[in-house]
């Protein structure tokens, strides 16, 4: 029966009907407004493939307590120092890179495309549709490859400079390639000055590569392929002129670019706004002196107007970029303001790059302070969203924060800048890891120096360690802030942070921390004091492990510097504050003291009184050896405290009033030798050493060394 119904004509009719139905359906758009039955379906909103994902990702806020997403795979290995963060992220990417390298090198092994789900294969040798370009091997071009113009188009579109040059040569150079393709290649070569650009694929590499500021020097490659292609093109199209002039001006080959532009104007070839933007950017290379340069800038703008070209936002930033590198001075500043006004009249608001150059021009670190940042921020805050127009836009936030920290020294302004960066999607303007860390360095510095303590700690708590790891200089700033505020608890924590951030080898920082700990110590609660003491002990132990490591490595010059005597005496001061004779701290005190005694520390303690206090305390607690060593050290160093301290220590040891001890001390040393405890004897020697000074020391030295050995044997 089926066969009976089916007739050719009928089928074609049905087909026709179906087609028209479908086309009607697809053309029909829902009408907005109320329909007759009161039901009005909303208008369909066309959404791109990532719109929903973007909406979802905005629901995930920033969590300062969590490590960055790229590190969260392995909670045990979450990196907490700048070095490790970098190493981990790059290591992960290096793995991906290695995989891609293998795929490209052995492209023949990766030709099969997999079905998803895998059971739905139609035939074993058929490949899945669609073909995913990202997963297929990239072509490798060498001298043997057979290439077509397709390959040239592919390489140009993917900005593969070296490959495109290779393909161009394989195609037979200027004869074998069509004019249109040559023009495209010319643009590519001019844009990158024949240098392979960063790959889009390797985000982490770009993120961590410290892209320093672009060098302002003529780096254009003379006589390169771009030049050759340009000369070989006949007749030369306007596009070719534009491309080569823009390229030359971009890489500061200013004079030739200028000549070519004049040539083009004479020939009546229409140039473009882009060309003039590029020319404006390198005016400083054509003229010397501010006045001449300003004149040239104005005349170029005038010429642009004569050509009937309208300026755009990049014209403004190109002008300001030029001006900002010509130095300072009221003349240039006035010109900059005139330019801004001119462009605003044309309806062109300055972009972030323009503001960045204005900040460079107006806010010199030592110059008079002005309020342009606040004006700029007011303008930016009033905008709905910040448009990104140029790659230099990423310099704005770090410069603005730098101005807040060095120029204005104003925490409120810094907060405004930070709020703007956190608004909407603006965080992408932070640039790369290098810029980000400079940005936060400025923020933390200004917060530490100029914010009230509560606010400063709030910043420290949110930013550190997951968003930002302070560099040693910033860490010092933080320690200073904590010290001034007397936050002993946080200072004790700072030591563990220093270890985690990998700064523990920086002796200067550790010494700074120790003195801060000492200065705060007496105002703290008992439990905080205990924390500080354990931090000090940990510092001492850390120093020892470092020394052991150096020794085991058998290096000629030890990597780690030793703690100074002042630092050691600080440790001693902190650790000796125990009321318990059997406390384990005493062993640490003894280690530190021995280090001092054996001249393992550089310099001398700046506060010898702390050691004499220790000596008296140790004597009263019955730690005679420690007391003797301390006094001996004081005497050896010739501190004025030595004599008094040894008398008092002896008094405590012998449990007699001070006058009696003084009388005892007047007797010749030899007479008492037999009757006294070895430690007391050592103290006695120290007293004489301190009293008699340099002249008799010679004769005493043998006995004092004896007493040293005695005391050390006692310890055993």
């Amino acid at each position: 029966m089926y066969s009976n119904i089916v007739i050719t004509r009928q089928i074609s009719k049905i087909k026709c009907l179906c087609r028209s139905l479908v086309s009607i359906e697809s053309q029909k758009t829902p009408q907005s407004g109320a329909s007759s039955d009161g039901i009005s379906p909303p208008v369909r909103i066309q959404r791109g493939p990532t719109d929903i994902l973007q909406a979802l990702s905005t629901t995930v806020g920033i969590d300062p307590t969590a490590a960055h997403y790229k590190y969260h795979d392995d909670p045990y290995l979450i990196p907490l120092s700048n070095y490790r963060k970098r190493a981990y992220a790059l290591a992960a990417e290096a793995g991906r890179k290695a995989a891609i390298w293998i795929r490209d090198e052995h492209a023949d092994l990766f030709t099969t495309r997999i079905w998803d789900p895998p059971l739905r294969k139609k035939t074993p040798y058929y490949n899945a549709d669609p073909k995913i370009e990202a997963f297929s091997p990239k072509p490798i071009y060498n001298d043997e490859s057979k290439v077509t113009e397709e390959d040239l188009i592919y390489t140009i579109q993917n900005a593969l400079i070296e490959d495109s040059i290779k393909v161009y040569q394989l195609l037979g150079g200027s004869q074998g390639v069509s004019d249109e393709l040559k023009l495209q290649l010319l643009q590519l070569l001019c844009f990158y000055n024949e240098k392979e650009p960063d790959s889009v694929e390797w985000l982490e590499e770009r993120w961590f590569s410290a892209n320093t500021r672009e060098r302002q020097a003529a780096t254009w490659r003379l006589g390169s392929l771009a030049d050759t292609i340009f000369t070989s093109m006949e007749p030369k199209s306007p596009e070719a002129y534009c491309a080569i002039i823009q390229g030359m001006a971009k890489y500061y080959q200013a004079e030739r670019a200028y000549e070519l532009s004049q040539e083009a104007i004479e020939k009546g070839i229409p140039l473009s706004t882009g060309v003039y933007n590029a020319l404006l950017g390198c005016i400083g290379f054509l003229r010397e002196g501010a006045t001449l340069r300003i004149e040239a800038l104005k005349s170029t703008l005038m010429q642009m107007n004569e050509q009937g070209l309208s300026p755009n936002i990049e014209t403004l930033s190109a002008c300001l970029r030029s001006i900002s590198v010509w130095g300072g001075g009221i003349q240039l500043q006035n010109l900059a303001m005139q330019l801004v006004a001119e462009f605003r009249e044309l309806g062109i608001q300055p972009g972030l790059s323009a503001y960045y150059y204005l900040l460079c021009l107006f806010c010199k670190e030592r110059g008079p302070r002005n309020n342009i940042l606040s004006k700029i921020l007011t303008d930016l805050e009033s905008r709905e969203r910040l448009e990104v127009n140029e790659p230099t836009d990423t310099n704005f936030f770090i410069t603005a924060m730098g101005v807040c920290s060095d120029h204005l020294q104003d925490i409120n302004m810094a907060e405004r800048v930070h709020a703007l960066l956190m608004k909407n999607n603006n965080y992408k303007l932070v640039g790369d890891a290098y810029k980000e860390s400079i940005y936060y360095r400025h923020l933390v510095t200004v917060a530490c120096r100029h914010a009230p303590f509560e606010k400063a700690t709030e910043y420290l708590d949110t930013l550190i360690p997951n968003i930002y790891i302070p560099e040693p200089s910033v860490m010092e700033e933080i320690i200073r802030t904590l010290e001034v505020a007397g936050a002993g608890d946080r200072l004790a924590q700072a030591w563990s942070q220093i270890i985690v951030f990998g700064h523990a080898k920086r002796t200067k920082l550790v010494e700074r921390l120790l003195s801060a700990l000492c200065n705060c110590y007496e105002y703290q609660e008992e439990d905080v004091k205990e924390k500080i003491r354990s931090a000090a002990e940990s510092i001492l132990k850390h120093g020892e492990t470092l020394e052991q490591r150096d020794e085991s490595r058998d290096q000629r010059s030890p990597v780690s510097q030793k703690l100074s005597a002042t630092a050691l005496s600080n440790i001693i001061e902190l650790l000796s504050d125990v009321s318990d004779k059997s406390s384990e701290r005493w062993t640490s005190v003894e280690t530190a003291l021995n280090k001092l005694k054996q001249e393992q520390a550089t310099g001398v303690p700046s506060k010898p009184e702390s050691i004499s206090t220790l000596a008296e305390k140790a004597a009263s607690m019955g730690k005679l050896e420690i007391a003797a060593t301390a006094v001996a050290y004081l005497a050896e160093c010739g501190f004025e405290e030595a004599a008094g301290a040894s008398a008092r220590v002896l008094g405590a040891m012998l449990n007699r009033p001070e006058e009696e001890v003084r009388a005892l001390l007047q007797e010749p040393a030899g007479a008492l030798a037999g009757s006294l405890h070895p430690a007391a004897l050592a103290v006695l020697h120290s007293y004489h050493l301190a009293k008699t000074g340099t002249a008799i020391r010679d004769s005493e030295s043998s006995t004092s060394s004896e007493s040293d050995s005695e005391s050390s044997s006692d310890e055993d």
């Binding site: 495209q184 009249e345 120096r449």
Partner: protein, 363 residues
Amino acid sequence: MLTRLKFRKDLRVIARCLSDKSKDNDGKPQVIQDAKKKTVKNDPATEKIQELLKSMMAPPKISEAEYREKFATSPDTRRSKQVDEIEVKTEKIEESITKAATDVAQAIGGDVKQTEAELLSRVLGKINQTSTTLSDLLVGMKVDRTVEPDEVQKKPDTREQQVKRLVSKAKTTEASPTRYSQRKSAYVPNDRTRQGRDSNRSGTPQITEIDIFGGEPLGIFKTTEPNYGTKLDVWENLKKRELSLATAQPPANYFQKIILWTNQGKVWKFPIDNEQGLEEEQKIHFSEHIFLDTHLEDWCPKKGPIRHFMELVCVGLSKNPFYTAQEKKEHIMWYKDYFVTKKDLLTEVGAWDLPNSNKEASV
């Protein structure tokens, strides 16, 4: 400390002597006094000089001959010879100067040695009153012999002195009161920061008002229809590429990662659609996938088992989502070829349509 004091005293004495005696020596005393001030200021510097001078004066520990015996030495080069020549020359000059000074002194009369020394010091820029040889000049000038006994004794224990020097150095460098003492005097943390800030601020001038938008327009451009001139496609694309690279960040959450992968074309695009990537196939109307009977018309019998079979094939194919329309057609054509080659046999068996149609015709 002691040594330095002595040294200072010496200098003062010398300076006074000179200023008394040689008033006709214009400008000299001031120079010396200046020098004195300088030396007093730069204590570590003078110490260094002293040490250097001492090492100059000290006899070499090993004589050169001994040294040569013990160690391999490089042969004398021409350069060292030149140096020798210069040395010899200077020595000669020195000798002649000394001689001339002696002559003059004798001619003048009076305290011959004194005059000679003064003259020499004038020439060589050194001061010494009693002796005339260069080495004595140097020693008298800089080195305190009093230090030497200590060294002669070879006593390593100069620790006390080291310590004192260190302490005094620390005191001079740490002119400002330490934080410790500051804290001792007052313990008001937040006020201190504010004070510090205020004092900081008072040091720098007040903020000047600059109205960044208040400039006078240059008046070069007129608002007209925008005309950006010649367009460069590849250049624009590359600019966009650089821009996206400059603002690209490693994904901060799973959704951003998926966005990245979507843009790289590694995952399905939203909304999920199983015809993604089959853009070629979308140009073909769905009816061509479903109504496949057209491909049977010109060869297949109208009735009978073959027709029945082929219609089933068509139904099956029309429901197959994996074949393209072209593949479906090829599939049918394969059957066509197969049946056409077997046509004789099929006709014989009566499966081909001819007998049926005959019957129909006869009916």
